[in-house]
Structure formats: structure tokens, C-alpha cells
Symmetry: C2
Subunit: 168 residues, 2 copies
DNA sequence: CACAATTCAGTTGTGCACAACTAAACGGGG
DNA sequence: CCCCGTTTAGTTGTGCACAACTGAATTGTG
């Protein structure tokens, strides 16, 4: 195992490909694991608010922007109606939002906060500090990591569209 | 932004908390979105191998380590049996792995690669380069990002265990 | 106006993540 | 040897992600 650290002018290119496979294992696994670890901490912190992590993301957008059609909500969160429709129904069942079909355009459904939904924001204000404390990162580190992740997302989304059939 | 690094004796603490909420929205959303974007690119690339992204992660471990009990596989991937059991059944149904109960310890189930499973590695060797091309990041950037994400995961896992009930 | 294409939310089906639980097998202490 | 706590997979139930589809409303074009 791992017999050739620097293949250089080796007789076959197989070792290089194997190393790529190992690196790939590392980066894709790291991102996957970090996302799930993050999710796990939020799960604990949000439990007392009665929210899941994706529900919290939806509430964050609504707290900041007030009221939005499902379509816009999906654009902000990079989620489609297949995910949002049942999630919003659960938030509505919990009494945090109301969904009302627009009178101007009956195709679209506008999501409003209820009084309970707005009130929940006060309790949610404590969440970010608990999360920040859990990461142990300072503001600069968090901001930098965020920028890097957003770059990554942009690149990946662009690549998914092009679907680069021939890159080598 | 970040106008009040130390709120101290301010007249009201609302603005600082709101900013934290906004920053929180940014970082938790960024990680969530990056993970899903990554997943999406893998989904496209792995489609021709007939693998999902989590199935690919399992195969990567098996390609590198050969044969493992479910328990060890779960430790490597940070996944429990509730996720792995049905996933492994699907891989077995696809003819890529075999699951066999250990004769030494009948509680544990060992996961082996089949010939098809081993053969699939050859086709998978092309995957990492296609992903790397999609990110547009060079090796150094990927390695750095990976290190940062692993730090984050470690911190979050540690915090989840302590569950820091009073941090402020 | 009529009709085709588009937009929007919702539904269905598949797979993953995880908590909570079950059941079988193991292993050590009386 | 037997009991009891532990370990290990597996099952069940809930929720999210997403592809593929449906159906209603809207818009553009002849």
C-alpha cells in the first residue's frame, strides 16, 4: 500500500490515478462529514426551538425578508419545491408560518410568518453564539471559510450546467 | 458590518445579536449549499458507474482497505448501521459487494468486494480528475480546504459531546 | 380570441441521515 | 455453568434532497 509517494517518471500512470482517488476520498469525505457534523450540532441546539436545521434556514430567510413566495425562498436556499413543499407544511402545522396563494398570480404561494413565528426569532438570537462557540473559530476564520465554500459552490454549479464532457 | 466587536455596556444588545444571526445564516447556509453542490456534481459523474455519492464513499474505503466489518466501515465514514445497512444491501443487490457474517464473531458482518466491485475501481479512477476539474481548485487549495473542514468537524464533534450547556 | 409554451407549486418515488429501538451473540464475574 | 452488561447489525419512523412528473395558471403569438 502507498508504495510510490512520487511516481514521477514511473513505468505506468496507474499510481498517480490511485493517489487522486485517495485525495478525492479525502476532500469529498471531508466536506460530507463537516456538513453532517455541523448539522448534528444544530440539531442539538435547535431541538429546544422545535426546528430542524433546514427549517431553521427557512426561518432565517423569513426573519430577514419578511414574506416571500415559495419560488423566491427556493432561490435563496438553493432548494426546489419538492423539498420545500412538505417542509413548509410542517412549519405551518407547527404554527410558525402561513401559506397563502397569491391573488395576483394564483400559481404562486406566499409564505408569511405568524406571530409565533416572529416571536421565535427572539429565542433564535442565542443560537449563532452557541454555534460559534462550538466551532471555536473566530469571525475572520468563519468569514474566510464561508467565502471559500461559496466559491466552491459557484464553481460546482457552473460545472454541473456545462457538464464538461471533455476535460482530458 | 461587524460594528460592535465588544457590546459591553451598550444601550441595547439587539443589533449585535441580529448581526450574529445574519452571519450564522451565511456560514451554515454556505456549508449546506456547498455540500449539496458537491453532491450534485458527483451525482452526475457517478451516474455512469451506477453509484450514488454515499455508495461511492463506501466503495472508496473498500478499494483502499479491501474488506471490513460494518462497524469499522462506519467509523471510517462517520456513519451508523441505520445508514449503512440498507446502503450495503443495495450495493450487494448491484453485485458489487458481498456481506458475510464472521465465523469468529457472529455479531459482526464482513463486507467484501466482488470481482465486479473490484473491476469498478478501474472506471472510478477517472472520477477524481473530473471532480477536480469541476471545482477549478488546484491541489494546494483542495488540501487546505480539506484541512480546514476536518478541523471544523473535529471541533463540532467535540462540542456535540460536551454539549456546552453554559458558554455564556 | 385561441392555442401553444412557460411558470409555479405540489406529488411520487428513491435514497441518505439519524434517533430509538430490537435481537442475537459475546464475555466476564459470581 | 449461568446471568448480566456490552457489542454489533438490523429495523422502524421521521425528515431532507432531488429527479421526474402532474396540473393549474399565466403569457405570448398568431
Amino acid at each position: 500500500m502507498t508504495t510510490t509517494p512520487t511516481p514521477s517518471t514511473a513505468v505506468s500512470e496507474a499510481p498517480a490515478a490511485e493517489e487522486y482517488l485517495r485525495l478525492d476520498q479525502q476532500i469529498c469525505f471531508s466536506l460530507h462529514a463537516a456538513s453532517r457534523a455541523f448539522n448534528g450540532v444544530y440539531r442539538v441546539v435547535l431541538k429546544e426551538l422545535g426546528l430542524t436545521y433546514p427549517q431553521y434556514l427557512v426561518m432565517l430567510v423569513l426573519w430577514e425578508r419578511g414574506e416571500l413566495p415559495v419560488k423566491k425562498l427556493g432561490e435563496h436556499l438553493r432548494l426546489d419545491s419538492g423539498t420545500l413543499s412538505p417542509l413548509l407544511k410542517r412549519l405551518e402545522a407547527a404554527g410558525l408560518v402561513r401559506r397563502e396563494r397569491s391573488t395576483q398570480d394564483e400559481r404562486s404561494v406566499h409564505v408569511h410568518l405568524t406571530d409565533d413565528g416572529m416571536a421565535l426569532k427572539e429565542r433564535a438570537l442565542l443560537v449563532p453564539r452557541r454555534i460559534a462557540a462550538a466551532t471555536g473559530f473566530d469571525i475572520a476564520e468563519i468569514t474566510d471559510l464561508r467565502a471559500r465554500l461559496d466559491d466552491l459552490t459557484r464553481m460546482l454549479d457552473a460545472a454541473a450546467l456545462n457538464e464538461t464532457p471533455e476535460c482530458f
